[in-house]
Symmetry: C2
Amino acid sequence: MQTELSRQLGIEHAVFGFTPFPAVAAALTRAGGFGVLGAVRYTSPDELKRDLDWMEAHTDGLPYGLDVVMPAKKVEGVTEADVEAMIPEAHREYARDTLAKHGVPEMPEGEEGGWRITGWMENVARTQLDVAFDYPIKLLANALGSPPPDVVARAHDLGIPVAALAGSARHAQRHKEAGIDIVVAQGYEAGGHTGEIATMVLTPEVVRAVDPLPVLAAGGIGSGEQLAAALALGAQGGWLGSVWLTTREAEMHSRALTRKLLAAGSGDTVRSRALTGKPARQLRTEWTDAWDDPEGPGTLPMPLQGLLVAEANSRIQRWEVEPLLGTPVGQIVGAMNSERAVQEVFDDLTRGFERAVARLRGVAGGG
Amino acid sequence: MQTELSRQLGIEHAVFGFTPFPAVAAALTRAGGFGVLGAVRYTSPDELKRDLDWMEAHTDGLPYGLDVVMPAKKVEGVTEADVEAMIPEAHREYARDTLAKHGVPEMPEGEEGGWRITGWMENVARTQLDVAFDYPIKLLANALGSPPPDVVARAHDLGIPVAALAGSARHAQRHKEAGIDIVVAQGYEAGGHTGEIATMVLTPEVVRAVDPLPVLAAGGIGSGEQLAAALALGAQGGWLGSVWLTTREAEMHSRALTRKLLAAGSGDTVRSRALTGKPARQLRTEWTDAWDDPEGPGTLPMPLQGLLVAEANSRIQRWEVEPLLGTPVGQIVGAMNSERAVQEVFDDLTRGFERAVARLRGVAGGG
């Protein structure tokens, strides 16, 4: 399945896969799609370097990209400690109490929490970019608004197109004005940070708003039929994140989490501020319920909430405390019911796409 | 555009249009689609009879249907007065105060309010059906769960297929068990009563859940591209309601409301309990804000809320109090930017559908 954009990028199928796991990203690229590695979980440049080396060795020279979480506005000289100091004690206490209520133990001595979202801090993201620009990445995506102008310019100097996520037509238009090359329209049903407008409505709005820039549709896409729907709406490809979480190549933190994803229905997610302070779709758990509870203290704005819950999330994952265990994921989680290889999921996508197009031809032809 | 269902029903295009206006329903049927007249606003059998006579005279013998709002569970012997008596005084006072704050006058003496939602009451819906079954209607749709078994049996005896709306796969499955013939999958982005699952995810889920029953997709469909997306998702047609509200044939209550619809963006709707007590997507107004305000008394359950706000809605419409003036409508309101004839909108739908399918053929063929 070829669009103008897939031809430009030299890939066989207009399927873009966003994932925090190098093995998934590489498998996607090898399958003929475009693997995009999420950088937000890397806490040191060396870790990212190690994984990009691995990507290089496992993608046969085919194109892949990197996704960072970079705020457009720079906050000069603010450290993680400064942000930590802004968290009210009542919120810390509520987090402690909620963990205690579920009997969640402390982290074992000397063991570090795997859960950090410091990648959103501008200085961290910049360090990541310093590493990434030494690799032949073929796409730089930003999940949090347009990247700063100097970053866009630096990518363009290296011939790297820049993509940015948008939850509204106005947001997308700002990306276009900032010199972004590809807009990812992120619908309400998508996993992670989302707006209120569903993919069916958002995709054509964004296509019109940024014309002639190419648009990728995100949210609600886990099958070839949904991919065909996205392309019918004017997208030049699908941007899929959730569907890879239950692939064999995904290095999930815990088996219990994989089991929860496999068992969840489409109604088991919630758009909550519990994880980062901005609305993000994720599995609904007793942890998200606690932060969304009108009787509780509520959530803090980004980036405070992310720091507030970082240690708690590490402990919940470390001890696999099932009622609290969650992850960002979209409404298509209801259709993720078996663990399969990335290649198998990918083949289903392209075959389902062909089937859907054939059916539509029959409808259009009156046959 | 022909599907198995459109052939069964003897229509040229698999476009189902739900509307409270006979002139819109008849124009839809004449255009080669399937007009479905909403009965909920009729307060007397004679009014409905008059409009069905008019439909007969203006549809050239082509098929059309009727949509009622009928609860599956019968509440024996409960009158409107009984329900009125259950409304707390604090809620009545809040309604009065909100109207007073915006200077909304009383109805002129002797003038009746146009806004009644008594059609949801089982006895009213049954009276409507007694009238409707004397006409050659070709579809009976119910917007509120499966109709009672005797109503389904009566329709089937007359050879009339029955459709019911569903916001989840489980809900759809219950319809199938109740002997329903066609399920309308009503996505999150749709106008009126909706669930939380977006059309992209809901449609294929419902298709799988009720197989081999035909499914119509509702929510987010206002263009041929969106119609093509719905059919790619496995639907046998689109069920469109919002897009007709700004057609020339629509007899809207007020010009101010039409102007608001034409000006609204996709982000200007809200899924609120303000209108009926169940979540229904509608224009966001200072009236919905008042009922959704956490500082206010909140909304009452169906059917209390509908009765509570009936008089207020009549006054708001009668005096065209713009900040409070609203109507059920889906997120596609953002694309409803001009007043056109039903036939013109319909032609755009079928032409846009053909264009989208041709584009998809190019993508699939690699060309």
